[in-house]
């Protein structure tokens, strides 16, 4: 059994620095550096893997908004990305289906049509295009190409590239109109690999020519997609041309500037929507008789509560991951306060609300988090424990295999008044216990929240025993408050958060051979006092961000 639960280690190691269940080596290799973080030497450079990345649908939408002013989020009609690292941007699992190739054409056609539909739209592409005379058409098309194509390709055009695009204009103009010709250019640009993919060839480091670094334009693109999920802005492009992005200090200055821009908030929101079980709260179904105060509207407000809270902690309070996990406040509006049973909050505007810290503390205890880790009208400690282990502690607990399922039949139907009773088989049966000893104690400690996340002290009139523990540690807890306090001081939890950001930021899944990159990020996070905003800046300061591994042949 390839399990993270065999023996008494669980997936946990005392140094908590080594991935336990690394993905099996693939044809694209396992990474480029040492697999043991202890082997990462100070002063040595450990370049990052730089697999070819394609714009995600999220990034595509933001990019065409900035490139052409198209705000229709057209990429949502593309088929979704592969699951991979959980953020949809995992370059290691990228593949192209026939449907995707086709839909990229359909989406580009729609964008091009909108961008050329009216004289006003055309004027936005270039002033020459608003009322172009027949004899000036070709010159104007060239002007549009020379302005638009370097932005779309995120680099200056190479010799011949403008002519190539002008050929496309001519083909589209034939038997048609000027705008059809321009639309054809845009359709081509938007499907070109130079737009869809983030292509990095790098350039030798002047000091150490054996090492390659991203070019200025490539670095501007790295920064921009990491922090904003879109193409570089004018300032980044100028900085790239001026050589400001060839040092870690230069990159840091721009990262700091970019984090102050509202665009970074959209990225942080996207990150948490994918990390946390909150993005489907607006669709959550619950039995109306058992949970009369819950509705889809409440679900979407709970989603908003968590996102408001995170944005406030990170951007206004300069929060740490620990402070997010244990903050004594949240955000509510009138309807949400009524749902929670909190008085004194009225109206539709969200406002900061102090928590009753005997009942709730921090992110994990928000009703949306608890409802989002419950799949039915009954709480399931396994699902909640599984979420904490997988997403907060980076420990993958394997699903029971066919062998175990064949040997152990779950009692059917589950009986017992409390979840602890219903799931008691897990500790009685040693086969189940190998994994459930890690999952259930977390879930049991969260039993004070029902299936919609409301606080309770009894279940079916039986007092809830919310004792549990933090897996992989000696920490024993009684109830959710102690649990989140315990989690907040556990290294695995801090390292896991930094690792998720590294995987999102670098657009891949960290492998065994990326151990030094992972160590650099988790060390920097620790050095910052686990400050979240600082972590985003530190992602731009690693060797992995500044040096590129040799291309695999």
């Amino acid at each position: 059994m390839a399990s993270g639960c065999t023996g008494d280690l669980g997936g946990f190691r005392s140094d908590d620095s080594k991935p336990i269940d690394d993905p099996p080596p693939t044809s694209t290799g396992t990474g480029t550096g040492p697999t043991d973080p202890a082997a990462c030497e100070d002063g040595a450079v450990y370049p990052g893997r730089a697999p070819l990345r394609r714009l995600t649908r999220f990034e595509y939408n933001k990019t065409v908004r900035d490139l052409l002013g198209d705000t229709t989020d057209p990429a949502y009609s593309l088929p979704s990305e592969e699951v991979g690292n959980g953020f949809g941007n995992d370059a290691d699992v990228l593949s192209v289906s026939s449907l995707l190739a086709e839909q990229l054409g359909t989406v580009a056609e729609g964008i091009a049509k909108r961008a050329t539909a009216t004289p006003e739209a055309l004027a936005k592409l270039h002033p020459c295009a608003s009322s172009v005379r027949a004899e000036d058409e070709e010159a104007c098309a060239r002007s549009i190409i020379e302005r638009l194509a370097p932005l779309a390709y995120r680099r200056p055009l190479a010799a011949g590239e403008a002519d190539e695009l002008l050929g496309l204009y001519t083909a589209g103009r034939t038997d048609a109109t000027f705008d059809a010709g321009v639309a054809t250019v845009i359709e081509g640009l938007l499907q070109s690999p130079d737009f869809l993919y983030r292509i990095e060839f790098g350039t030798p480091d002047p000091q150490r020519p054996e090492l390659r670094r991203p070019t200025g334009d490539e670095m501007a693109t790295r920064l921009s997609y990491l922090l904003w999920g879109t193409m570089p802005d004018e300032k980044l492009r100028l900085a790239a041309q001026a050589g400001e992005l060839s040092t870690k200090e230069g990159v840091r200055a721009h990262a700091e500037r970019m984090l102050e821009d509202p665009r970074s908030r959209v990225t942080v929101r996207y990150f948490f929507d994918n990390l946390l079980p909150i993005s489907s709260l607006a669709d959550l179904e619950r039995n109306a008789e058992t949970f009369p105060t819950f509705s889809r509207t409440i679900g979407s407000l709970l989603h908003e509560e968590t996102q408001r809270f995170l944005a406030h902690e990170i951007f206004e309070e300069n929060g740490t991951w620990a402070s997010i996990l244990t903050a004594p406040y949240t955000f509510m509006n009138g309807p949400l306060a009524a749902f929670y049973g909190v008085s004194g909050v009225t109206g539709d505007e969200f406002q900061q609300v102090q928590l009753d810290t005997t009942q709730r503390l921090g992110l994990l205890t928000q009703a949306g988090m608890m409802a989002g880790t419950t799949h039915s009208n009954n709480t399931n400690p396994v699902v909640r424990g599984g979420f904490v282990l997988d997403k907060l502690m980076c420990q993958k607990i394997p699903l029971p295999t066919g062998d175990i399922l064949a040997r152990v039949k779950p009692p059917e139907p589950y009986t017992g008044k409390t979840a602890r009773e219903r799931f008691s088989q897990h500790s009685k049966d040693p086969v189940c216990a190998t994994c459930h000893q890690y999952l259930d104690p977390v879930g049991f400690a969260l039993e004070n929240y029902d299936a919609v996340g409301l606080f309770r002290t009894t279940e079916n009139d039986v007092p809830i025993d919310a004792s549990g523990g933090v897996p992989g540690t000696d920490i024993k807890v009684n109830g959710p408050i102690e649990l989140v306090q315990g989690l907040a001081q556990t290294d695995a939890v801090q390292n896991c958060f930094a690792t998720h950001w590294a995987e999102y930021g670098y657009g891949l899944t960290l492998r065994a051979g990326d151990a030094c990159t992972k160590k650099a990020v988790t060390d920097a996070f620790k050095a910052s006092g686990y400050n979240v905003k600082q972590l985003l800046i530190e992602l731009t300061q690693t060797d992995a961000f500044h040096y590129m591994a040799a291309q695999e042949e």
Partner: protein, 459 residues
């Protein structure tokens, strides 16, 4: 053994048979001049039709005997085409291991289990295997996947949780998201046949060709500059672009007695992208779009039928909703969604029956439309195989034994007009049998653990 250019007439064989020993089976060497006892010609078209949420078994199952039976209330709308139906009873989806609904839709056509933690299946779906045999490279499109009201649940139209039935024929067997927009599908398939399009369709085609030509050049040039792993990704994209180029080069369909553009209907009240955006704020409830389902569904069926009749493709899939099926049925006066009646709101057998019965009526329409089209002495339905199924059988328990499967059509010598019952065999056996109908003679498909060989008594 290559025989295609070498056909012996029966007379030649009869003349020579006495004189020389012929090692090859006679009938095979005579090619098309087969006698009645020979294996029938392979089926030429394949459609799979998915409906969500199983059935109500005691209202579904026919009564009577194999050849003389009465359809149950749920299937009763199909009585007019009963002689073209094969009710396949008693199969279990043993390979549907994983999340209740997702594992069901994964296994339905692929016969493989769901990868752990909400992953995909482990192999291709039969439609794609069939497409690679009879359609890919031969028709304008290898296959066409269409869905009505597809993004009603948690997946927001993403491929996780899994809501697609089709998986590519080559590793890593990625799920194929269906097409959703009736207007786009119409233009794509029938643009050149549409009299109202004038020269636009031709101009659009010419423009598309020059763009693809440009892209071909860009992807080829880039590929040669990249390392192996990155080049592989770009090459895959290039391959798909070339597939599109090739499909544009395939002659556009021309109107014949069989092939006509379907009647376009106004679908402006139907939003094919409802629910698709990952950050939509609970706007999944879209009553206007729900109300348009019957009209859009009919158009989707018309387009699938005509894409077969016009030889645009030989393989298609129609998905009536995703597995969550959280849309309402205002035309049936049902205000809650299908999943609510299945078990979210407690199992409501009467409502489930009403919904299943409506799907039977839709299926009747599809089969009758296929039966109407003359493909030269026989109907489109006669040369096709149509597989109708779901991701489970019993809604409240998510049970996947005794699946409510139907086959229809006469392709591959399928003997219809019957109700065949099997003793709880694995449905993988049916999948391999369907492949056999298309001349693919393998004897196992999907996860071999769940396949004991083709079913008897189908042909």
């Amino acid at each position: 053994m290559v025989m295609s250019n070498f056909r012996l007439s029966r007379r030649a064989v009869l003349r020579g048979a006495g004189a020389i020993a012929i090692a090859l089976p006679w009938l095979e060497i005579m090619g098309t001049e087969r006698t009645a006892s020979a294996a029938p010609a392979p089926a030429k078209r394949f459609l799979s039709v998915y409906t969500p949420g199983g059935t109500v078994m005691n209202r579904w199952r026919p009564t009577g005997t194999e050849t003389s039976f009465t359809l149950g209330p749920i299937l009763s709308p199909l009585a007019p085409v009963q002689d073209k139906l094969l009710v396949v009873d008693g199969l279990d989806m043993k390979s549907a291991v994983g999340e209740q609904h997702q594992a069901g839709i994964i296994a339905w056509l692929s016969g493989t289990t769901q990868a752990p933690n909400g992953g995909y299946g482990g192999g291709p779906s039969i439609d794609q295997v069939i497409a690679s045999r009879i359609s890919a490279g031969q028709k304008a499109k290898a296959s066409i996947e269409i869905a009505v009201r597809w993004a009603t649940g948690k997946s927001h139209g993403l491929l996780s949780p899994m809501n697609a039935a089709n998986f590519e024929s080559t590793a890593p067997f990625r799920p194929i998201a269906p097409r959703l927009d009736p207007t786009e599908i119409f233009t794509d398939l029938f643009g050149t046949l549409d009299p109202s399009a004038g020269n636009d369709a031709a101009r659009r085609l010419a423009r598309k060709k020059s763009i693809l030509d440009f892209l071909d050049g860009r992807y080829s040039a880039l590929s040669s500059r990249l390392g192996a792993a990155d080049a592989q990704k770009i090459d895959q994209h290039l391959t798909k672009i070339r597939e599109i180029e090739k499909s544009l080069d395939t002659a556009a369909p021309v109107e014949t007695s069989a092939c006509k553009a379907p009647t376009k209907v106004d679908t402006s009240d139907y939003n094919p992208r409802t629910g698709l955006s990952a950050d939509n704020d609970g706007k999944v409830k879209d009553t206007s779009t729900d109300a348009a389902i019957p009209k859009v569904g009919k158009l989707m069926m018309d387009m699938l039928v005509m894409s077969l009749a016009c030889d645009i493709t030989a393989v298609g899939t129609l998905q009536w909703s995703d597995t969550e099926a959280k849309h309402t049925f205002p035309w049936l006066n049902l205000s809650e969604h299908h999943h609510f009646y299945q078990h979210d709101g407690g199992f409501r057998a009467a409502e489930c029956e009403l919904i299943c019965n409506w799907y039977s009526k839709q299926h009747l329409y599809l089969l009758q439309e296929m039966a109407k089209i003359d493909m030269g002495g026989h109907s489109l339905l006669d040369e096709s195989v149509v597989f109708f199924g779901s991701e489970l059988s019993d809604p409240p328990s998510h049970n996947k034994s005794n699946m409510p499967f139907l086959l229809a059509g006469g392709g591959g010598g399928l003997r219809t007009g019957r109700w065949v019952r099997y003793p709880n065999l694995s449905h993988n056996n049916l999948l391999v049998s369907i492949l056999n109908l298309f001349g693919d003679n393998r004897n196992t498909f999907g996860d071999p653990k769940f396949c004991t060989g083709p079913l008897t008594n189908l042909t």
